[in-house]
Symmetry: D2
């Protein structure tokens, strides 16, 4: 049992609150003899880091990664890797005015009722700041997978829906994703999304998003019946991210609309290689990877901290109103892209090791 730990063999445990001195994680079960450095991890950290465009919070955090253990002379030793990230821009005073109110859509109410105490500064442990640790762990997972699988391995995510606006998934272009502030894979959508989100931001409101993550080069055979299916663990991994309310594998919720013929991906031998004619399954059959691209997606609800006034109650149960003035993203979904990638990387490495354990 593990409240704050994720994974089975490659495991990470995160700790820390939004406005405490630091946050971090301990990564256990990482294979030894893998070259790893703080700067490798920093690249992924910088993609999640706030303050990179006008569409993300202006909190200033360098999110500098410190490796305190588990790496010796540039290589992993097989012992726990402790990562520490200092909190720098802690404006706790921003939260004084709302410390006795429960912000709607946030976990203020449930944390307080559960524990009888909560760190109200920036949401404390509920804060999405925790996800910085996930990105660090995922970065290490990617490095290990790249070493094991080779150059054909790739994990890439993008925002495929911003509020009510979708994009044309058939236009997915990896290289497009890092060129726009929305991580949108379809360049045709960028302008209209920009206009749309600017308006939302100015109006003091927020919107949700859908993020899709694709993993390539994954061998057949990862995943295990029945309660460690690859898709089961992906669903848990993605649903554990702050503000996520839905998870799809392949056709996902849309598979309900398909006929049996449309849904079953036919199989062909094409010049000695087994190929599927479609990928409604998202690369997972019976919980086990099929060798196709692993495709998952998830919905992030709109940022709950909005300028517009909302009804709520105080800790003592008095009716009141609240308007959250801090520094917030109009669409937190955008910054969820590297987090989703990180979680998928961790699940895949974990299952790679699990499969190696049982099946050699």
């Amino acid at each position: 049992m593990s409240f704050n730990t994720f994974g089975k063999i490659f495991r990470f445990t995160t700790w820390g609150e939004s406005h405490g001195p630091a946050i971090g994680c301990v990564i256990d079960g990482c294979p030894p003899n893998i070259s790893i450095s703080e700067s490798d991890i920093q690249k992924d950290m910088d993609r999640r880091r706030p303050g990179q465009s006008k569409f993300t919070t202006q909190r200033k955090e360098s999110d500098k990664v410190n490796i305190l253990s588990g790496v010796f002379q540039g290589k992993t030793t097989g012992t726990p890797i402790s990562i520490l990230i200092y909190n720098e821009d802690k404006r706790s005073r921003d939260y004084e005015s709302i410390k006795d109110k429960f912000r709607p859509g946030h976990a203020d109410f449930t944390y307080f009722k559960k524990y009888g105490i909560r760190d109200f500064r920036g949401g404390g442990r509920q804060s999405a700041r925790e996800t910085a640790s996930r990105v660090a762990a995922g970065s290490i997972a990617k490095i290990v997978l790249k070493k094991i699988i080779g150059p054909k391995f790739k994990i890439i995510g993008g925002v495929t829906q911003l509020g009510v606006l979708g994009c044309n998934i058939n236009n997915w272009n990896d290289s497009e994703i890092r060129k726009n502030p929305f991580y949108c894979p379809d360049k045709n959508s960028v302008k209209i999304w920009e206009k749309y989100l600017t308006e939302i931001r100015k109006s003091g409101s927020s919107c949700g998003a859908v993020i899709e993550v694709r993993a390539r080069g994954i061998p057949v055979g990862l995943g295990a019946p029945i309660y460690s299916k690859l898709d089961t663990d992906i669903a848990a991994a993605l649903m554990s991210i702050n503000a996520v309310k839905g998870v799809n594998i392949g056709a996902g919720m849309g598979s309900a609309f398909l006929s049996g013929e449309e849904n079953s991906d036919e199989i062909r031998n094409a010049s000695g290689r087994i190929k599927f004619k479609s990928n409604k399954a998202g690369g997972i059959l019976g919980g086990i990877s099929s060798g196709q691209e692993i495709i998952s997606s998830f919905a992030v609800k709109p940022t709950s901290s909005i300028l517009n006034s909302r009804e709520t109650v105080t800790k003592k149960g008095k009716n009141t109103k609240i308007s959250v003035k801090g520094r917030h993203d109009p669409c937190v979904g955008i910054r969820a892209v590297p987090i989703g990638e990180a979680m998928i990387a961790c699940v895949l490495l974990d299952h790679f090791l699990m499969n190696r354990a049982q099946c050699g």
Copy 2:
């Protein structure tokens, strides 16, 4: 780590193949001194059992539950409860003709590639027959929760979408659900669904479905940050069910379309009781139950075993075609209703015990 075990404190481990001598499960961590009998469990088993309408497989299984341990003089003793269900209607010969072919949409290919061996009879371990064990475990979880929480506790699921046809969720009526063969909560949809599914069945095809499960009477405070969130475990629980490809909590994937105002459920003190004005969150905030109804839904893909011919390959990699003649449901989603309820019950009891452990 646990391939075939679900849960953290209230845990069950399932075993067995579709056409082996029996299937079953071992339930560990059940509280002691709870009155329990085979006939209590049997009621839930009968709802999942095949052959109950023309819309489900005609395989004949009585699914009779045998309790082999953990219950003494009608009460649980706190020790493992072993449940055994014999397989009765095993027509393994049905599978001889397809034993060397990989059925598209099934896990034949991935199991064989992973393990180098597979029990091809009825899908072996991949078969949804495994879910009978889940229903037994869930039945026990419900009995325990009922005893702990009292009469206000209820878990009820229904099919809210059948293939391309939805129903009006606002017409949800608990008592309607068991009156029609689709477990549909909206009686206005029953006739049109009947016509629709009859046609699909006759055409030798199949369709998907969406199932929604509602849990009532759940106290505030179940769930734990960060990787044992209640919704994280629900997502894993539902995604682990055969043929499930998508999971929603509350507004789910639809939350991407909402504005911040629409999404954040406002809070009021109504005559001394804290109430939410809406339930977009599905009763879970920050991974912790809020005291509202816990609402989750999941999509089941269309039955992969269809009469219509599909392209595939043999174990040796030869291109071929396949048409699955066995006894199959035109929409497996229907029988997933009691399975979804069972999984939700297990997650909730598990979190109740986890919360009692940490928070007293």
Copy 3:
């Protein structure tokens, strides 16, 4: 968390009470494609089985193993192996007279106080009958290890002390062990032990024992810092056996008496092979196997069920006396030999798979 499960990757969950209909276990994580049969396992079962000499209980149990899942056409499939053993000789009436008394040295008192209910028939879940399931699991572990490691792999245990009588450990002879009813490795001790135990049996008393288990052919590198050390898991495995009160690795408790020079096993390169000059460490350094013989031992306390009268209280707290007339071993330690071997086999296979996961 797992009350009734042992192991991390190769895991078994046992269930069942002494006088219920059956006992059994579910083994998860077993590698696929290993040839296995009920008769292979039966050989180990027969060594633990009661009624084989006048020094063991006369309860008549055939302990016939039934494999209900996980094996197809004679080979493991990588899915859970369910094993069921019927209880045949259940004389529950023997226990009617003592059902309201707490037998000293047994867990009657603690089970009742913990759970508020207990199956008093033969001790219910506390009964050493549970260990039959361990022997079955261990038997499978041995088959897998033999296949992986080859013929140099061997696990063998013996009784090295019977009550107050030791034996000369330097006379250890594998082939001697199965020739005498005490599993004693030193044939010089057999006669005197026979006389000693006969007297104890006739006097209605009982005695304790020390069992030593040796594992050979184990590669360097099994075990992991810090809380999954090989010796940590061996200690847990052996201490979990009924009536065990002490566990040693190598020199064990005796290492306190050694000097630094005596204790540190010196290392030599002998014609290209690394050799240790002694084995005080019992083949484990820093929790990791060194390639030497893995040596552990454990003490089993005297059988608590004795004919001679003892003071105790009733369930209602009344002072009374008790004399246990059932069918009992004068030294339960003897039958613990195959159990100890089984547990060591399970730990070693588990660590083999864990090491394969992390280190390839």
Copy 4:
């Protein structure tokens, strides 16, 4: 599965190497609303800290505890508590001369063979420096147990054997323990021990020790069959400590010498309170606490780093000799007292929470 994590509900994960920048741990599952401060923990740290008498290593470490998360306004919040301790006195150069040699009795050989890489500075992860983190975790466990159980709760350990010299256990006196540099509970032994250990230290050798830990005020009912028995977890906890080779519960290895009559602790109702007439069981029956004092003991082997020259091989397999000149304890067992106490505290709290989960 968890290489570097201990516990099931109250869990701690340690990280860090002897000569890295810092060591620490993350404690998860701690109940909320418990008053806790760095200075509370520091008291226990100071007892384990090196350099406190001439019988312990002269390495200078303040072992100052830093709490980075999980405590808000002086109280635990129920979220992970991250503890960090800087390494201050890192004389890595001491180890340059032996970095290519395997120190006999240490894990140098096994770590290198397992991982293909190792941090040789002070043993890296194998170093007993890791145990500082355990003492911090144990300190918190004690504070929680004290709050739950009240003033009758106490855990106290002492050295009952130093090398070949025992002490009179019947003279056990709690208040004596902290008055002498050996944590010896029998004041009659102090002088002779002092003379003995001084000689060993001067001769450049070392000796082993036995430590006994007693826990009082523990309620009936902690522990769970079969593989989470209280004694099973205690055995694992103690055996996981560096250099421990044997573990006893109650009479321990000595129980083999007892008769059934001597071993079974008789039970009496004395004026309405259930009392045992003896405590051979060490307070644990069938893996469950009986309400008596919980007594366990463990043997620590002699310090492996000794001045006297020993034979070994180099990384490349060349025969050589080694003499370890660093700063070492002549008997590491002495400093194991607070570590043993800490591990027992963690196990007991963990089982308290587990019992609360299942049995309410």
